[in-house]
Amino acid sequence: MYDKLWLIPFFPLVGAIINGLLGKKVLKSEKVIGAIGTLAVALSFVVSCNYFIQLLGDENKIHNERLFSWMSVGQLQVDWEFLFDPLSAIMLLVVTGVGSLIHLYSIGYMHGEEGFYRYFSYLNLFIFSMLMLVLGGNALVMFVGWEGVGLCSYLLIGYYFEKKSAGDAAKKAFVVNRVGDFGFLLGLLTLFWTLGSEHGVWTINFVEIAEHGHLLGTGSVVVTVITLCFFLGATGKSAQIPLYTWLPDAMEGPTPVSALIHAATMVTAGVYMIGRMNGLFAMAPDTMMVVAIIGAATAIFAATIGFAQNDIKRVLAYSTVSQLGFMFMAMGVGAFTAGIFHLMTHAFFKACLFLGSGSVIHAMHHALHKAHLDDDPQDMRNMGGLRKFMPVTWATFGISCLAIAGMPFFAGFFSKDEILWWSFASSRGSMFVWVVGSIAACMTAFYMFRCLYMTFHGDQKTDPRAKDHVHESPWVITLPLVVLAVLATVGGFVGIPHAIDFFHVGNKLDQFLAPVFHHTQQTYDIAAHGSASTEIALMVLSVLIGLTGIAIATVMYMKRPDLPAKFTAKFSKLHRWVYNKWYIDELYDFLIVNPCKAFGHFCWRSFDVAVIDGIVNGFGFVTKGISSGLRYLQTGLTQTYAAGMVIGVVVLVGYFVLG
């Protein structure tokens, strides 16, 4: 019935292989390559839709499809298996849907790049790994996807490998992710080992884990450890404190990549993973708390940095980090549905934002190129007033900004409010988290509109020579923008909160995800308790907060453009810190990277070469020394030899006779 699931990852894989092997020599033409790439993803989107619909009409919502055995060693029996349930279904739609849009977009955006084929094969490969991650029926298959996406993000960030910065960013991304994977592996091992040796359940299959997880005992140390390890993995993948530093650098990659990987899909893997293991996490309140706090902290921390960035993509990157913070907040307070919900909506509007920025950069790049200028096409200080040149981009960008700012009835509104509501009212939530969240929301609104204004409004700061070269992008670019904008607008209605559900549509999403989350939420009674009135009140409040943010932005960047300069002048030190991202990268270099290298050098020069080889060669030298010493006993004088003999005799006789 669901036995063709494997088709979903299969198409992108094929696409990747075809483009990778034949792209350069055989296919050549961008059209063909792009078509293949896009088609592959589109196909798997179709298949996913088909199964999604099938699932809607199906009582049994959880299906574990086993392909064949992977490793069978003693108690460790790992299969290649897929898990298809509402959660993965939604993710599938998001990944393949947004994915195919972005492929389409890329055809236009990457036009004329020499590594075109390479790009598309990587992109398909990424979709494949992401689908493996999503569909993975056990922790290990998920891990394949988990590291696979890491690999692809490495490849795509390093797409412009001639740029050293790109190479560094790629390496950084992979290594930091590796740190996360380290946590993932440890969690996996501990889980497998504890369940097996103590409760006789040797498994890493998600369904069985969900089934037998309770054996570990609520709040027990081991489960806390396990979940914390997994969460470490999540922080790596989803760029949370302390492992978020790679994401901003990842903007070295082509913009569509940033949209797909570093906004819509990969970075949300952590959230997804926690959702997968909600049973376990729910059992560890301490971990939940940690998750919530880290999420909140990241949300606000990243937002602060977002204030002072001038690179349009960096702004978006930090906003992504901060939005991911929101999602983790949701997970932390037990609002699993809300988390996934926000994940989805975020995918829409953030993808839209990135693609919009891409469109802008694309335009700017062309313009500057035509004018033979080498200003930075990504620097917002060179932009402004682009609205009249590229209306579509402006419109979609604006809509997404509204959405992310949580303006009523845009997608962001529903998801974010649900998160805030849960963080306020959930049995695992707390006032503190809510406050932090709200402030973050306000800041988000502020810097997003700052970005919007600096880019599209005000008077144009672009070099006059480039001015008239700026124009709207081709349809392959704008079409995805429009689609995503629409989604960003209406996407929210799948999850209308109970409180304002005037037409009793019901929270479709919640109902749909129920089979995955409700059991947990009931078992460990995680729920948002509170009257509808409070909820509505909070909603209004948060809208107001959002509006404040927007207002401040408007004042500072529309009405009184001189203000920002004043501020930076006033709080120059603060500004410098914020501008330099609180010097976190430098801190890490100082604390971890450099000591490692130094120690490595020490080990090599001072230990390997000096000590060990010193000893080894030392034996040699000593031997030679003794040798060249002894050889001079051989004086060549007969009488010395005779004396030697006599001494020998005397000693021997002396020893035996006298001794």
Partner: protein, 167 residues
């Protein structure tokens, strides 16, 4: 009576031995060595081995020593150029002294405890030493005797090979 004779001879032997070792000129050493041989021959007689005494004189004093002196003359080595390694002398003294000491010790502590055979002084007197030697040489010690002949052959050949001028 006999003991005095022994001591007298012993002293002479030791002195002459000492001279052999110390004389500057090899010729003098050779003479001293001759003296030693003769005295030893005396001892052999005292030990009821007249035949040994005889060949001691003949072989050693007669043949070997003559050969040596002949060589010395041939190579006309005067007094050995005295390259004195004094410290070597000290060491040598110590070692020689130690050897003497040890052997003295060995001889004192240990005692020859062999199975005593039937050859007694009066038997020697009755049968005659030469005949006894001859008997055993040609019965029991036939093989060593033959080997000895080969030995001499080898020595001759060797000497010839070493000294003859042309190839």
């Amino acid at each position: 009576m006999e003991i005095f004779y022994f001591y007298l001879l012993a002293v002479v032997v030791i002195i002459s031995g000492f001279l052999v070792v110390t004389c500057k000129s090899p010729v003098n050493s050779a003479i001293a060595l001759m003296m030693t041989f003769v005295c030893l021959a005396n001892f052999y007689v005292m030990l009821h081995a007249p035949f040994m005494a005889a060949i001691q004189i003949m072989v050693y004093a007669g043949a070997i020593l003559m050969l040596i002196i002949f060589t010395i003359m041939l190579l006309n080595l005067g007094t050995a150029v005295a390259r004195k390694g004094s410290h070597s002398v000290v060491w040598a003294t110590v070692l020689a002294f130690l050897i003497a000491l040890q052997s003295y010790f060995v001889i004192n502590r240990g005692r020859p405890s062999g199975t005593t055979g039937e050859i007694t002084a009066d038997l020697v007197a009755k049968v005659g030493h030469t005949e006894l030697i001859a008997r055993s040489l040609f019965t029991d010690f036939l093989l060593p005797f033959e080997i000895a002949s080969i030995l001499l052959l080898v020595a001759i050949v060797g000497a010839v090979v070493l000294v003859k001028k042309d190839v």
